[in-house]
Amino acid sequence: MEAGAESGRDKNTGGSGAEALPEARSQGTMVLRKFLRHKLAMGSVVVLALIILASIILPLFYPHSYADASFSSYVEPSGEHPLGTTQVGKDMMAQVLRGTQFSLLIAITVAFLTTIVGVVLGALAGYLRGFADSAISRLTDLFLIVPSIAAAAIMVRVFDGSWYVVALVLAMFAWMPIARITRAEAMSLSQREFIEAARASGAGTGRVVFKHLVPNMVGTITVNATLAVAQAVLAEAALSFIGLGVQLPDTSLGLVISDNYEQMQGRPWLFFGAFTVLVLISLTINFIGDGLRDAFDPRQRGVKA
């Protein structure tokens, strides 16, 4: 791609050797600098960090346990119960905090797994072409036509509704977009001279793909991995909302909303707590992904207003 060639001529890299390492580092600092200037993305980082910290630290100091069902049913919000209590007499704030923990845990696991599977399969397909490409592409098509919500629901039922099962199952049906994007990029990159040079100097498939191809796709991979977290948060919430995802004793924001949304008309606080956190997580991650995309895009080098 031409965009990549431009980045090599950028003045920040001037004078460095042909070695991959200093070039990568200077690209890294450039990306970081651009990202730090992206106000919306940085604001999102702060908000997301606050949510993550709150979900980890607050439960340590919060007086009520998520499991404690000894309160009266439907207590209105007060200093004692900031978000009121549920029908069975559990403190809502404690539920939201624990739901946030699990939602984030599941989403990050899903994004991690989908990125690894998608990048490996996509890079191999794009680099090897021929039979490997057709096989991997057909596999991608296969997973794309199976309705993931049904398949995930059945598999969660086969095993159980613990958080790691839900994460694994969601990852199984979410790696295809990343594989496709990586494949396309690997295809165009493998036409470039540096890949040819690597191959000519005797590097095997594994070395070319993982030492030369994948590091050069770091921008695409980072952006898509970030967006995958946001999609996983929403996918998990949707699955749990219809009651086919995470099951007690594990929980998630989707499950917390599903259990309490019927009350939104008379007791909106039971709905809006979990709702706000869920939307904030997904919104901030999308903004961060967008900021990263701008930062990695060499065409946007401070030219635009």
Partner: protein, 338 residues
């Protein structure tokens, strides 16, 4: 002619994938446990009827012959029986078809509005880049894109109920119906006479359609905006402008048509998301569509219904891809060659 070959080739790829996919799903459904487990523990059910049911479901056979039995039945319209209602067995085919009709109605209405609106807003935002319209459209798209669909549905339902109360207070319920906006499954959409039917349709479909529409709209408008921006920076657009063609004509004739091409790919990618969205929206508004069928089938471990459900959706995905390919072929003449 080339287009026909192209479609046939796409179909030829899809059919083996559907075949392999349905077999894998069949194995997965079979692995989900004994569908008659619940029935076996019920006191009033005789061993004889369980044996009969087990035979009817083919549980006495191996997985491969059972799959081919199912496939043969599926292709001839006999989709087996549902055991979701215990020993009161229903055929799966009419059950899934009536649910699918409900869901596809929602999806079609929502997708058409989302496409038209999304493309229009995307083009407008691109043409007026960095204007207030662009910022508002981008922000809205971002928010809806990040919203879980059930939350949109829940919030809309909440405001729908408030709006109904307001309509009643204003006394408009005499001609809009009470409640005007149906927040639970409507028994029937049409009313007496033409006008009442229209009101019935709008009131019944508005909230669920809007919920699905918003999420799709966000994706379409964002995609259309970036694709439009890209084409507006193309050399041929600059050439057209330099020739002195009016800006409106340049946008419509030169840029817009080409900027539509990427959106058709989004339509097929987005389709599964929209189906999932429809399923969840139905749950919120208590519609008896594919969503409730799925939840019941998974909870009751009802193999034939699950298989029918999954294959119907998979075929719908293939058809949606085919439609997208067709539109792609029409918009992009390059695809027709070779």
């Amino acid at each position: 002619m080339n287009l026909v070959v192209y479609i046939l080739r796409r179909l030829a790829i899809s059919i083996p994938i559907l075949f392999v996919g349905s077999f894998l799903v069949f194995c997965m459904v079979a692995a989900a446990g004994d569908p008659l487990g619940e029935l076996r523990t019920q006191p009033g059910v005789s061993q004889e009827s369980i044996n009969q049911l087990s035979q009817q479901l083919g549980l006495d056979k191996g997985i491969v012959p059972r799959y081919f039995d199912w496939l043969g039945g599926f292709l001839t319209g006999d989709w087996g029986i549902s055991i979701a209602q215990g020993s009161n067995m229903q055929p799966v085919f009419p059950k899934i078809m009536s649910a699918f009709e409900v869901t596809i109605q929602l999806i079609l209405a929502a997708e058409i509005i989302a496409l038209l609106l999304g493309v229009a807003v995307g083009v407008l935002a691109a043409v007026k880049q960095y204007s207030p319209i662009d910022y508002i459209a981008t922000t809205m798209a971002f928010i809806f894109f990040s919203m879980p669909i059930f939350c949109v549905a829940i919030v809309l339902k909440m405001y729908g109920i408030d709006l109904n109360l307001m309509i009643n207070d204003l006394g408009w319920d005499s001609w809009l119906g009470n409640p005007f906006l149906k927040t639970t499954s409507p028994e029937s959409l049409s009313g007496d006479g033409f006008f009442d039917s229209i009101i019935g349709y709008i009131g019944g479909l508005l909230l669920p359609t809007l919920s699905i529409m918003f999420i799709s709209f966000a994706a379409y408008s964002r995609f259309q905006r970036s694709s439009m921006l890209e084409t507006m920076n193309m050399d041929y657009v600059r050439t057209a402008q330099a020739k002195g063609i009016s800006q409106g004509r340049v946008i419509m004739r030169h840029a817009f048509r080409n900027a539509l091409i990427p959106v058709t790919t989004l339509f097929s990618v987005n389709f599964v998301t929209v189906v999932t969205g429809a399923i969840i929206t139905e749950r919120v508004f208590a519609w008896n569509g594919m969503g409730s069928v799925l939840v019941e089938a998974v909870n009751k471990n009802d193999p034939n219904t699950l298989m029918g459900w999954i294959v119907v959706i998979a075929v719908a995905v293939v058809v949606a891809n085919l439609i997208a390919d067709l539109v792609y072929g029409i918009l992009d003449p390059r695809i027709r060659v070779g």
